[in-house]
């Protein structure tokens, strides 16, 4: 069927029926791309058609003359979300192509270049968490990983989920509690994005700090699901991607989470036991790195680059605090000492488990410049042959 006749058929359908029909056409196009050995030109043509169908018939962003249409009203948006949810909840696996087809459709629907569609994705994922729509959550996890968990798109998605949805749920919600076991990849990537946001976004003196309820649920996730932080590393996406797709390197939430725990004492006055708990859970999880990533060459758990950045941020903040104060390294402010001790504990366990990857030289340089608290000295002397 030619592209024009496809559009002709779809144009005769009312909204939201046209969405449903369009989705199945798009899927057919994607499946054809995956399983048929078609020529490249043909492939590009089909991809273009899929994109056109998405724009005109799924999101209804343009009309038949490719002119911008006014946005869908709330009711229409609801109907659209419903059709999309149902499509991912029920259609996958029954059609040819399985995960790959589903993910291809999903990634075509929400390419990272379309930040505008992110708002809709936030709502879609919120509904997915709520309705236990595991296929949709898995697709979101794959999408985040492919475009990068710390990319603008993923960050926006994570922020949107927190603001629109998580803050509205009670802390003890069973749905949130079970999320790591039901959708580990999504939870892990979501966690990585979240960890990136807090203590980074906001101003330098007044960074964004996670709410206690968010902190609690995350601590619970990490402490009760030892493998959670490794989900992105251990999931094999090779067969879940569109034709010719290459799995992108995974980022674990470790550095981000440790960043919270290290920086928290420097920004938060009161002694917050939640950070101690999260810190411990993250350490315990990191200690198991050899279990989840047995091969040393693939143990890309803690990025040296990210770690260097964390040490730098931490050091700068401490220098700011200690500016003009004559102080001996053995008699630091307790909260500074706590921050440095947490950092040192993290570094020690990371070195011990051989979990740091990438070029470490810069990291070691930075580390040597930090105030030499005793634990740091012990750690560095322990690993002096590499530092």
């Amino acid at each position: 069927m030619s592209s024009d006749s496809t559009k002709q058929v779809l144009r005769k359908l009312e909204f939201p029926l046209c969405v449903k029909e369009a989705l199945s056409r798009i899927e057919q196009l994607c499946v054809a791309n995956i399983i048929q050995n078609v020529e490249r030109i043909q492939t590009i043509k089909q991809t273009d058609l899929a994109m056109e169908l998405i724009t005109e018939f799924v999101f209804c962003e343009v009309d038949r003359r490719s002119m911008k249409k006014k946005k869908l009203n709330h009711i229409q948006e609801m109907q659209l979300l419903e059709v999309l949810s149902d499509y991912f909840a029920y259609n996958h696996n029954t059609t040819l192509g399985g995960d790959a087809a589903r993910n291809t459709v999903f990634m075509s629907l929400f390419p990272h270049t379309y930040v505008e569609r992110c708002q809709l994705l936030v709502k879609l994922v919120s509904i997915a968490v709520c309705t236990n729509n595991i296929p949709l959550l898995s697709a979101t996890g794959v999408l985040m990983q492919q475009i990068g968990c710390t990319s603008k798109f993923s960050i926006e998605l994570a922020k949107g989920l927190i603001n629109d949805y998580f803050t509205l749920l009670p802390e003890s919600s069973i749905k949130l509690h079970d999320l790591p076991s039901k959708a580990p990849l999504f939870t892990a990537n979501f966690l990585t994005a979240l960890a990136e946001i807090y203590f980074t976004a906001g101003t330098e003196d007044n960074p964004l700090i996670p709410s206690n309820s968010l902190l609690n649920i995350i601590t619970e996730w990490v402490s009760e699901n030892n493998s959670l932080c490794y989900a992105a590393l251990t999931s094999n996406l090779l067969h879940s991607l569109p034709m010719g797709g290459i799995p992108m390197p995974a980022i674990t939430p470790f550095v981000g989470l440790f960043k919270w725990c290290v920086l928290a004492p420097l920004y938060i006055d009161e002694d917050n036991v939640n950070y101690a708990k999260l810190h411990l859970s993250a350490l315990e999880s990191l200690l198991d790195s050899q279990i989840y990533c047995p091969s040393a060459s693939q143990r890309n758990v803690v990025s040296a680059q990210q770690l260097t950045f964390l040490v730098t941020v931490c050091h700068e903040k401490i220098e700011k605090i200690l500016k003009g104060v004559e102080i001996d390294v053995e008699n630091l402010f307790p909260y500074v000492q706590l921050a440095l001790e947490r950092l040192a504990q993290f570094v020690q366990v990371a070195l011990h488990t051989n979990s740091i990857y990438g070029s470490k030289q810069e990291f070691f340089n930075r580390l040597r410049n930090l105030p030499k608290i005793r634990l740091l000295r012990i750690t560095m002397s322990r690993h002096k042959e590499i530092i």
Binding site: D271, V273, A276, K277, H279, L280, L283, E284, L287, E330, N331, L332, F333, P334, Y335, Q337, R342, A344, Q345, Q348, V349, H352, T353, R374, L375, I378, T379, R382
Partner: protein
Amino acid sequence: MPHFIADNKTCEISDEEYLVLRAKETSDKNPYQSKAWTLTARTLFPQNFDVQFEAYLVEKNNGNSKEAAKFFGELFQSFIAENGLWNEMYALTNALRSENPCADDIFLKNMFSYIPSIIQRDILTLTAERSEDTMEHCRLMLLLFKKFPQNTSQLIIRLVDTLMTAEKHSPGPSVINCYRKTLVCEVLPLLLQTSGELPPKQLYRFLHKSIEFYLAYLMSKSSMVENVLENEKNDISWELLFNLIKMFGNKLDWELCSIFIPPCTVRMNILDQTKAIRQLIYCLTVLFAYCLYQYNIALYPILENKHSVVLVEAFVVKEADEILPKRLKIDPTSQDSNLPTLTGSEGTGDIIKHFNFALKCWNMLNSTDVYQKGKYSNKFSPYLFNGNSWILDFITDVALYRGKFEEFQFNIQSKANNIRSNLQKLTYNFVTKNYHMLGECCIPIIRQIESLSLLGNQYPSLTEYNTTRHLHYLAIMKIPVLQYVVKLLIIMYWQLLPNFTSSEIDRIFGYVLILCQLSWPSEKRIVFDILTKIRNKRSFTCNLFFKYVVNVEILEEFMHMYANEQEIIKLDLIGTGQSHSQKRMFTRGVDKEEREDFRQLMKEQVCRQEPLYTLIIQFLLEEDRHISLK
């Protein structure tokens, strides 16, 4: 103002100590922080015991049994030489055995359950091997066997040897010691359950040790036994012994095994048929000891409100010649009809059954067949016979039962002056027809009756018909004892009647009349005999009459005698001790007033309310000097 951490004091300590210190410092305030320290320390110094042990302690202090178990298992595998670990191991094994665990013990018990079972096993084995105290070693080994019953039989045999050696070297010859108790009550049952074939010689040796211990324990009443096994739960019982013998019996293919399934007495007859002398002796010894024990419990109940019991000679009436029983030659193998009849007062329970059963075992043990071949029986006799009053009580009663009165007398003569032995002396004199001794024997008993707290009831009839002899288990309570004593006094007076002078005879008639009231109407015939005798001699003086005679029928007879035969019989029923103003009453030549008085006195007697037994006891106590005829 921010606070500064005084780090000065930590300068001199080693890195390892510093890390442990930091973990300890924070453990109360912030357990997460503390755990983060121990976790880091463990990665820094995996070979340092203190660091690894601190990680365990932090979990222990936080009550995380699962995590603590993980660390404990690691410690056990890497630091077995450390004293600190051993202290914890002892605490752990103590907790496992504790019957009243404290909070710490409960934690350790819980923790133990999370330790992988291979390590559990090693922990128990190693702790047991290291303990210098034999008992400690045994308890740990037993714990090990209970938790890991597989493939333990070799270890159990080793433990058996250890215990037997320990017993050999322990002070004191008594078989009641903690080693023997553990061996017999805990280790041997386990061995019999778990092991396969064992050489019979060894089994007999163990069996012997077991019986020795149980008999010594169960057959001794002294508190000495309790003291030796202090702090132990004393759950030693006959049932346990029976079970153990059953287990031995199964191993030894004993045909007599089933006798120990309670109630043992039911299958008694299988003993008669067996040819297996060896097992017969073991079984008989235990059964005899058991019956002896039961018999003794029945004789001297330990429960409060329970009376003791004594076997006495009771009374027989033969239809043909209604006189007192003739002693018969007793042959133990003779038919039941020639054996004495046994009866028991109310509340004597199964005593007759126990006696018969014990006697049967006793006869078998002493039969020539068993006795000659039974080179084993004498090994246990010390526990049955030595320093044991139980066997003495039993053979005393057997002597009475078999009519071996000299042996009976020999056994009771040395006994203390208590109501029980006094009753036995009384019964001896009665059965050997020393009638003139009966009164003397009764006096101490009468005085002792008062001190008995339980009242009891009269036994319907102490007299049996158509039997050679009649033995009765008399409940030592006020009324049953009184009933027996009164009956014997009546017999004494009756038997000795021809010996009394005419001046004494009225007093004796009075006594008999008074005594006959107790078991009325069983002595009615004697009363009518007396009335006939009074009529024949035409006079009767009794100054105790109005004090003690209250029986309506007797009163009516005398009333009748007074009213209708006053012309012939001279009746004097008013005590001489009465006040002077009262006139002596004669039936002859009295005035109407006096007759009215007599009627009035009779009426008053009928109306008296006090219980008969108190009246009789009062009579016996007040007249004790006269009733003994001495």
